[in-house]
Amino acid sequence: MHGATWVEQIFNLACGLLLLTAVGALWRRETSALIPILAVQGGALTVIAVLLASGHPDATEAMVVAAVVGLLKVVVIPLLLRRVRRLVRNARETRPLVNVATSLLAAAGLCLLAYAAARPLVAVAETPTARATPVGLSLVLIGFFLAATRHRAISQIVGLLLIDNGIAATAFLATDGVPLIVELGVCADLVLAVLVLQVLTARMVHTFGDGDLDDLRELHD
């Protein structure tokens, strides 16, 4: 069983990397650092998808899903984010709503919450990989936290992408991945949503002169 443990070790490493990169996104205030962090996270997600695909009953379909996810999260999304960043120079989270130290504490709390929330998912799925499902939910919760507490447009997009990575990870870990056609649809929606947000960031910079979401104060009751 030497081979099996080797696969397991890579799998555990990838799951750890998912969580580490999510916390890293909270930790770094330079928005430029967020893009490589997301790319690494996408890579870890792809590794998980490939490992699961090798044991999947329909291996070719699962491999196609893994390839699409890898292409999207490691290549396409970071490329789009780099274009967003080029719009807003020297974008730095100068004064996040919650400071970094508190954010990290909150992340720890959110992970605990994710473990509690994921219990029914872990209980139902019989596979050993399902035990790592809380990692996916942690990513979702940390993504919410990031999107809610940051001021920069690009940070909010990154929060959205963290949520999506978390959902994808949950899908892989709990169910070996959703059906191919659904996965393709989800990926297409994601790329288009990021494209739309890129164009909107450009318009925001054009009309407000900045990518600071604090300027969004025209509409209220």
Partner: protein
């Protein structure tokens, strides 16, 4: 491929392709043709499924509930696309329309229609999710088309909040998928495990613990897109900033299309968990939406935001009706969906004409509209009367039925609270609308925008026809309130599917 099934999706797709190549004026009328196409194919679907039959082919599937929603989309789209022809003509007349912008508008509206019809016709919960998220993406640029600060802000909030909300629903969908694959031998490919019919048939075997988690996520997620509290914050901004015909589509049917997901999931979750869980969640969301809408309607200053909050109010009622459950309440809910869609589409398109004439979105800027533009203002006023739930319009019939069903189901206190809140909203809307329509006309030196706008719009081409789509919409809403006639069997079968799921 079954042509009846393909029609509602194919018509707007063809419309989008034609809009991309045809000249502006022809393309605008073609978009109306495509909307009528959705309506007629919807009626054809209704004729095939109205007595309980089901059509299924590949990824598409239709029963009476589907047909009801397709008819609603088609009816509202006909009003909105017809009004859109005049909206574009008005913009062009003012010189505020580039050919590129007109083309983008027409293509995106058709793509929006195609996403909505695909959403309700998808055989599969996963593909339903994909289509709902796609509606957010195609409408983002329609919301932000003006490129002012306000509309960019509205578009940003819309995309971020709705994507996050619908993301929660995806997590819920994945939980349902996990429950379905764990419940028994999964059919090959796994896709079938997310089919609405498969989920309905195997609902009793789904793990209750997991379904509890899934139900919360699905309701919160699709509730966000349906404009229900607590994730409603994007709605007033997006619906007030979008061009009037797009607001008509978003308020009139997009909210209901998102809610259709909740209707489908409810029968599945009820079979797995019993009826009280979803009922409690929907009562909280429904009463919360009603309370918020009533509160914010009182001090409202912008008449498109007024209509947007009225949509939150009506979605609250729809959620409440779904919470009551049973065939009677769900028939009321479905009638409410169609009646609200038509009335709200007319109200938004009328508000668009008022905005064009007055040049200001403020309620106080519109005074005595009935004396200045009797036809437009009269239609707007009648649409507001319909939205207030007065006879002879469909919302009167549906609200009465809803109250009756609520008391019969032992939810008297909830229904009484709800209608108290509806009364507050009624008073608020009636007061604002009366101020806009009655009183002395405000064409005076104190409002330079209206004075400047007025001579400019008077000789606009083909003025005589622009009231026609609005009048037709109102006529349909009134007709449904008075006499259901041939629609009755379809409504009954659709309510049966909504109440008891797919047999």
């Amino acid at each position: 491929m079954n042509l009846t099934l393909l029609g509602p999706v194919a018509a707007p797709v063809a419309g989008a392709l034609l809009a991309a190549v045809l000249p502006r004026r022809v393309a605008a009328w073609t978009s109306l043709l495509a909307a009528v196409g959705v309506l007629t194919t919807g009626i054809a679907l209704a004729a095939r499924t109205g007595h309980g039959a089901t059509l299924a082919d590949g990824l598409l599937r239709a029963d009476a509930l589907t047909a009801w929603l397709v008819v609603a989309v088609g009816a509202v789209a006909t009003v909105a696309c017809w009004a859109g022809v005049h909206h574009l003509a008005d913009l062009a007349h003012r010189g505020a329309l580039t050919p590129g912008a007109a083309r983008r508008y027409l293509v995106l509206v058709q793509a929006f229609l195609a996403c909505m019809t695909f959403a309700v016709m998808a055989a599969n919960a996963g593909l339903f999710w994909v289509a709902v998220e796609a509606t957010t993406i195609v409408t983002a640029f329609l919301v932000g088309h003006q490129r002012t600060r306000a509309s960019v802000e509205a578009a940003w909030k819309y995309v971020v909040l709705c994507s996050i909300g619908v993301g929660i629903a995806l997590l819920g969908t994945i939980c349902v998928y996990a429950a379905a694959t764990a419940a028994g031998p999964t059919p090959a490919g796994g896709l079938e495990a997310l089919n609405w019919s498969y989920l309905n048939q195997h609902a009793a075997q789904l793990d209750p613990g997991l379904m509890r988690l899934a139900a919360g996520l699905v309701l919160l997620g699709f509730g966000a897109k349906a404009g229900l509290v607590p994730m409603h914050a994007w709605l007033p901004d997006a619906h007030s900033q979008a061009p009037a015909p797009v607001s008509a589509l978003m308020s009139g049917v997009l909210l209901s299309v998102a809610f259709y997901g909740i209707l489908r999931y409810k029968s599945i979750i009820d079979a797995a968990l019993g009826p009280t869980y979803v009922r409690t969640l929907l009562v909280v969301a429904g009463l919360g939406s009603l309370a918020l809408a009533a509160l914010l309607l009182i001090g409202q200053r912008d008449y498109k935001r007024l209509l947007a909050y009225s949509s939150i109010e009506h979605m609250g009622l729809i959620a409440l009706g779904t919470a009551i459950g049973g065939r009677l309440a769900l028939a009321a809910v479905l009638l409410h969906i169609l009646g609200h869609g038509l009335a709200k589409a007319v109200a938004f398109c009328g508000a668009g004409h008022l905005l064009h004439q007055v040049g200001s979105p403020l309620i106080t800027a519109v005074r005595g509209a009935l004396t200045r533009a009797p036809v437009t203002a009269g239609l707007f006023g009648l649409a507001v009367v319909a939205l207030l739930g007065l006879p002879p319009f469909a919302l009167f019939a549906s609200e009465i039925t809803l109250a009756r069903a609520g008391f019969a189901a032992g939810l008297g206190a909830v229904v009484a609270t709800a209608f108290l809140l509806v009364l507050v909203a009624f008073a608020a809307i009636a007061r604002h609308a009366a101020g806009m329509l009655l009183g002395l006309s405000s064409v005076s030196p104190t409002s330079p925008s209206s004075a400047a706008e007025h001579p400019d719009t008077a000789p606009a081409p083909r003025r005589g026809l622009r009231w026609l789509p609005l009048a037709l919409g109102l006529l349909a809403a009134a007709g449904l309130g008075v006499w259901l006639g041939p629609v009755q069997p379809l409504l009954d079968s659709a309510a049966l599917v909504a109440a008891e799921g797919i047999r």
